[in-house]
Symmetry: C2
């Protein structure tokens, strides 16, 4: 039920690749007349107009007024419904220089394309039935994934794993609704041999409810893999924070650090442990360099520690615990977020106090234990149970609504409540699940979802 | 004459789009077996293997070991010679997330592709006769162009304008060589009616020489459009430097500033005046914020002024010239690089001293004159005479060698020197021009050219 009133005759265009100097850039267009409009600014319009779907055509984007060549391109024609959006579409691969991209975009705008809104291509794909909403959301998640694991979970959703899981749950609910409605439509005296049987049993409903809850709980893991966990390194001066920071960086298997040319701060400061993205803050570094005024530095350190999902507190084993350490550990607000580390064990003789992980940044002794502790706190004890993980607040809220309705159903079944009340709860659960995949959707919901997308997606 | 021993059977792959989160990324491959190798990690290998040239195929890149899907892609197959490199090639358009790109690249490497060196795709295009060297160099210049004008000049070279100009010059020289060699091959007594005529005249040679020199001189304009000109704003505190800076920014017609999402410093600090990229340094800003210690700030300002191609020296017209101003102007090393501005003329009554441009940053009065002065210094009095402009030191040096040989030819013709000596000079000029387009090239020359390219180009 796609009720959205959406005008797909409106031709759109946007840069789909990164906005920086590079060998190539791709400008995506979509809309019923997109091939004709692109042909109007193409050096060989007939070849574009007559191109079969999924065919690449070499030529130039020109200024339609002066005929001046603006850039050399390869334009790939997609014909509805065989395109990303399900509409006619031309993807223009031009040179990746900033003026080249600008000139091609201007020419397309002049020809009648408007700049696409964030996520508008994917919104059209949804409106045209190419994707359900769980897959549409996965598109955004794939692009913003920080780690290989987050990418792989999102790709799994894009491939329809979540949609299929939701469909299974819906089938379970639909079967119950059918059983109930059969009795509602045909009073029991007409149904031979079933007279007196209540059509549902509470255990089946409870199983369904727990499957829905499990999916809702997977949000936490999804969020961890998507957003990562801020980790603060704390401890006295010379407790070994910087050495540990370097060790974690060195042992990092995140593919992003292997690629030549990634120099952004936001990438380099992500560290991956067991596929979980961790953003490490060295509070010592904060105090020493960013804030020359010591008092301000200490304040900032405190804020970082308060906001961190996990705090690593280091104590130099050759110095031993002192009053300052004891006070920090005793006063720490949430012991479940704290990992205490007995550092520099390569040099030390004193054995680690209870609850401390002995660690040497020199020999990497204890690193495995630290990684287990980090992933344990990040994902919870259970970790990820399967590869269908949700990654959107919207999905979680709807799953919770479905779980709530199933709980009420179960309670009604236990007391053999009137069947029309039971049917109403089951239908509410079904609606909530239907909203997840987008069977039921409003313009507001769609705007909410797609406005977070990047332009060109 | 492509003498380079280059193994194009070696399959290469590289990311060709920007390395940042975006809707799409394109990974380019090339090499004789590139289609077969890409098919080995493609979800539907047969469709890729059987795809006609310039056809896009939808599918997944998979891990060939586990069969796990790594990303959803559209792979466009190009079959030799109809491809950028002239070889078989597959361009893979995947999601623009960092882990997606990494996973696809790893899979391709696992399948037997190696990472392409900078410029290697274009080098192959040259080796395979798809481009001459002037066009190959233009590819790099297009990508790194900072302004629409620089892009358009580079695109002109890519379209072959420079190659054609060089060919014209070569034809002129070849005609002269033919005339000389005719007489060398057939002693004059055998040629009826031409006995005693010297086969060349000095004016023709001089015309050719001056055409070569003009092309060589265009290097200056090319460099200005490519690299831009550093411009320093100087003057006493409150001379109006920041207001002028803001005015220049506001009046800037550079397309880059119109695009939503361009937040890089290096883009935002480029200003375009009459198509010329200018990098404006406000020395006041330097002194005030970047260097808290005043002495260091003054030293930095001095360095910026010394290195600037143009210095704008502002004097507040309401304050008038003082000894400090007079000293700066008198001591400035190269008056041709200095533009003196009589600022804040909206508020002032005193008329501008000789040689000063009266300017109001409030009303933009005088801005046109300032822009003329800026482009006059940047490009020289003559500006650009036509749209064939060279943009590489290599090209300029070879043009200078040709011009030198033509000068010697002219001198020899003037004294009716022996024809074999004249022929030798003419051939040297011809060789120099041939080297520009790459008819004559060595591995060293090619390495020099292509190592400046970005990867993926």
């Amino acid at each position: 039920m796609k009720e959205l009133n959406y005008n797909t005759e409106d031709p759109i265009a946007a840069l789909a690749t990164g906005w920086e100097e590079s060998a190539l850039a791709v400008i995506r267009t979509s809309g019923i007349e997109s091939i004709e409009l692109a042909a109007a600014v193409f050096s060989d319009p007939d070849r574009l107009l007559n191109a079969a779907g999924t065919t690449a055509v070499y030529g130039y984007i020109i200024d339609p007024g002066s005929g001046e060549r603006l850039d050399e391109v390869v334009a790939t024609v997609f014909r509805a419904p065989k395109s990303y959006t399900g509409e006619n579409s031309v993807e223009i691969s031009c040179h990746g220089g900033i003026p080249a991209v600008s000139a091609v975009l201007s020419s397309l705008t002049g020809a009648g394309f408007r700049n696409a809104a964030p996520g508008e291509f994917t919104l059209r794909a949804f409106v045209n039935g190419k994707l359900d909403l769980t897959r549409a959301e996965a598109v955004h998640e794939i692009v913003t994934a920080k780690t290989v694991k987050a990418h792989s979970l999102a790709l799994n959703r894009l491939s329809g794993a979540l949609e299929r899981r939701i469909d299974q749950l819906k089938t379970g609910i639909l079967d119950m609704i059918s059983a109930v409605e059969l009795l509602l439509d045909y009073p029991e005296d007409e149904l031979d041999g079933q007279a007196g049987d209540y059509p549902l049993n509470a255990e089946d409903v409870a199983n369904l409810q727990s499957a829905v809850e499990k999916l809702s709980d997977s949000f936490r893991a999804g969020k961890v893999f998507r957003d990562g966990v801020p980790v603060a390194l704390a401890g006295r001066t010379n407790a070994g924070k910087s050495s540990l920071f370097n060790l974690l960086l060195k042992e990092d298997r995140a593919i992003v650090s292997e690629i030549h040319g990634t120099t952004r701060d936001y990438i380099e400061s992500w560290i991956t442990v067991k596929g979980i993205p961790l953003r490490i803050f060295d509070t010592a570094g904060l105090r020493d360099s960013e804030n020359p005024i010591e008092a301000e530095g200490i304040k900032r350190s405190g804020e970082v520690i308060a906001e961190a999902g996990i705090v690593l507190y280091l104590v130099d084993s050759s110095e031993g615990l002192n009053a300052e350490d004891a006070k920090f550990i005793r006063n720490f607000s949430d012991p479940k977020r704290l990992i205490c580390i007995w550092s520099k064990v390569d040099a030390a003789s004193a054995s680690a106090p209870e609850g401390f992980i002995p660690l040497s940044s020199l020999t990497a002794e204890g690193l495995g234990k630290l990684e287990d502790a980090l992933s344990g706190i990040a994902l919870g004890k259970k970790g990820i149970e399967d590869d269908v993980v949700i990654d959107s607040l919207r999905q979680r809220d709807l799953l919770n609504r479905a779980a709530e309705a199933l709980l009420k159903t179960k309670e009604a079944v236990l007391v053999e409540a009137p069947l029309d009340a039971v049917a109403m709860e089951l239908k509410d659960a079904l609606d909530a699940l239907g909203e997840i995949t987008g069977e039921i959707s409003s313009a507001d919901i769609l705007n909410n979802i797609f406005s977070n997308f990047c332009v060109g997606k």
